[in-house]
């Protein structure tokens, strides 16, 4: 009887661990994109995880250097099941999210007329 109960607990533990692992490894389940209109992208998409802390008391501020005369082509913010769980468990004290961004490409260089 005791053995059965122990096995049940083990199975439950494995189930939870598997579920959390799959959830954390899976791709983000929701995302928001903000894109500059008719902006041409540079090559690399940059990605990082940021944390908003203390109910907005310490929101992350990211400074991005795209180079002179260039801006952001796209910014995406995404969350997943694990991040949502973290937010609930910490009562909103820790709100993780993934952000992705990409700068715009070099501007066209007008060379006038080739004579």
């Amino acid at each position: 009887m005791k053995q059965n109960s122990f096995q049940k607990h083990i199975r439950f533990f494995i189930l939870i661990v598997s579920f959390v692992s799959i959830a954390s490894l899976s791709e983000s389940c929701s995302s928001v994109h903000v894109r500059a209109k008719q902006a041409s992208p540079a090559d690399d998409m940059h990605k990082k995880t940021v944390y908003a802390l203390w109910w907005g008391g310490s929101d992350p501020i990211e400074t991005i250097d795209c180079g002179e005369g260039k801006g952001l082509q796209i910014v995406s913010s995404s969350s997943n099941w694990l991040y949502s769980l973290c937010t609930v468990v910490t009562l909103g004290i820790v709100v993780p999210m993934d952000i992705e961004y990409r700068c715009t490409s070099e501007n066209l260089q007008n060379g006038g007329t080739l004579k």
Binding site: H33, R35, Q38, E106, Q109, G112, L114
Partner: protein, 526 residues
């Protein structure tokens, strides 16, 4: 290197649709400082280094291809920092118009470096009072990338994007670069190639072979293109049954490049009131329904008149010119039995487009949203003779009934190209059938089924080089016949040194069986 270059070792390369990923030895980003000189010199130095190491090189642009056509295992060159552009001085022009227009040719010819992106070019040309004659439905490609893979729209009398290119500036080694143009219809004099220190090469076979060659003739440094005076497109979109839409196929089978398209009365009969030929006409079909399952889109070219422009669309608005790969992004996570329901539901959303919307090309064929596709997109695009277009589309629909295909069917019509292995090769019009969908095993099985069915029906077809498909030597031989050998011979003539041919070869070419490069000392290295 003496120029401004960023080299990233062991770079993880992925295309924009996220279905091609590869670890490469290094990525080069070469920058101009002022003008074009540093960009040109940087590429030459990169090629010199690659040759010394016996490594391969491939340039890429917007990473818009869904196949590995633009991928190398060794060195990859991001062209996007190379964005110089300029007009061509009248004293250097030696040619005639390709597109009937009264505006003087010397005002309409431009040299663009390879990294200029379509969105940037549209904006720059519009400010200068010109338009690209045609583009694909989206603006994310670079000019060189779009041309090299045969990107097209559905402009009936223009052709694909390579069909407005008048000359190519190709670098083949540390000390070799060429301005390549057709001998029968040259556009620039030697004085132009002297500006770059390049060799002027007038050769029809080489030019038309190099036009669609996906980086295998060398690194394209720049292109001379013929533009048109700025125009605007008045767009219409109606939703009809496929049985009505199919009425357009026999009419376009009798298409003549230099006269009426014969479809004005047809368009009137289905509800698009018009008195002149459309510049562009295409269809988007929902294969999971039989009624109201086609959007027929027609665009009429008008001289630029700012008084008649519609308000510019917001970035999230659906436009008549939207590319359907973006539209299928919403289906990406649907599976199995839910596919017909999701496709039907998503198809309704396309109807938000406004008929009568009038804008310049940059606002008609605008931003794409391919990054929404989390699991990666997949797409195959077939080219078939317009005379057999209905049979081909019917075959695709039949395959959908017995498969899982989470997508729409995009049908466009393109004037036949002169490019030796351009996939829009069928005269007078090639009907292109695009099948964008979720990247899954079921989708790829569906594509195989379509190829087999078209073979069974003896319908000849080609495949878009920048999309997925069967690129086996057998299939290529069937698609291009003698033209394929002509292309291989032209490449051999342009790159007589087998090391050069090796440098500009990649796995895609090898798979195609067109990687012709003699074995080097020590055996075959490819």
């Amino acid at each position: 290197m003496s120029t401004k270059v960023t080299i990233t070792e062991n770079y993880q390369w992925a295309n924009e649709h996220n279905n091609v990923n590869k670890q490469i030895l290094r990525r080069y980003q070469i920058y101009n400082t002022t003008g074009w000189k540093d960009g040109l010199k940087g590429i030459q130095e990169m090629l010199g280094q690659a040759r010394n190491k016996m490594e391969r090189v491939r340039s890429y642009g917007g990473k818009w291809s869904l196949s590995d056509v633009a991928v190398s295992n060794d060195n990859m060159h991001d062209t996007k920092p190379l964005t110089f552009w300029a007009g061509i001085g009248a004293s250097n022009i030696d040619g005639k118009n390709w597109f009937a227009d009264k505006a003087s040719l010397d005002k309409r010819l431009f040299y663009f470096q390879s990294g200029a992106q379509i969105a940037q070019i549209n904006i720059a040309l519009e400010k200068a009072g010109f338009s690209l004659p045609t583009t694909g439905a989206s603006n994310g490609q670079t000019l060189a990338g779009a041309v090299s893979t045969g990107t097209h729209g559905s402009a009936l009398k223009i052709g694909a994007m390579q069909d407005f290119v008048r000359a190519l500036h190709i670098i083949t080694g540390e000390n070799e670069h060429f301005i390549l143009q057709p001998k029968t219809d040259p556009i620039v004099k030697k004085g132009f190639s002297d500006i770059f220190g390049a060799v002027l090469l007038n050769d029809d076979e080489l030019f038309y072979a190099a036009l669609v060659s996906f980086g295998s003739f060398g690194v394209i440094h720049g292109l001379i293109i013929e533009t048109l005076p700025l125009f605007q497109l008045e767009t219409y979109c109606i939703r009809i049954n496929y049985s009505q839409a199919a009425g357009i196929f026999p009419l376009l089978a009798n298409f003549k490049h230099d006269s009426s398209t014969n479809i004005t009365s047809y368009l009137n009969s289905v509800g698009i009131k018009c008195t002149e030929d459309p510049h562009h006409v295409d269809l988007i079909a929902n294969p999971y329904s039989t009624s109201n399952n086609v959007y027929l889109r027609a665009m009429f070219k008008r001289p630029y008149d700012p008084q008649k422009l519609s308000p510019e669309p917001g970035s999230s608005d659906t436009r008549v010119g939207d590319d359907i790969l973006s539209l299928v992004g919403g289906i990406a996570d649907s599976i199995g039995a839910a596919v017909p329901v999701v496709v039907n539901q998503l198809f309704k959303d396309v109807a938000k487009v406004q008929s009568g919307f009038t804008q310049t090309p940059r606002n008609i064929f605008g931003d794409s949203t391919v990054y929404h596709i989390k699991k990666g997109g997949a797409s195959v695009e077939l080219g078939v003779p317009v005379s057999q277009a209905k049979a081909a589309v019917d075959a695709v629909f039949a395959c959908v009934q017995s498969s899982v295909f989470a997508g729409f069917v995009g049908i466009r019509f393109v004037k036949n190209t002169k490019a030796t292995i351009g996939f829009t090769r069928f005269a007078p019009l090639t009907c292109t059938i695009e099948l964008p969908a979720v990247n899954s095993e079921a989708t790829h099985n569906f594509y195989k089924k379509v190829f087999a069915e078209l073979d069974n029906l003896n319908i000849p077809f080609t495949l878009h080089w920048g999309q997925e498909g069967d690129y086996s030597p057998q299939r290529l031989s069937r698609m291009y016949g003698a033209m394929l050998d002509k292309w291989i011979q032209a490449r051999k003539k342009f790159l007589p040194d087998s090391v050069q041919r090796y440098m500009f070869t990649n796995d895609f070419l090898k798979r195609c069986g067109i990687n012709e490069a003699a074995p080097l000392t020590g055996g075959t290295i490819i």
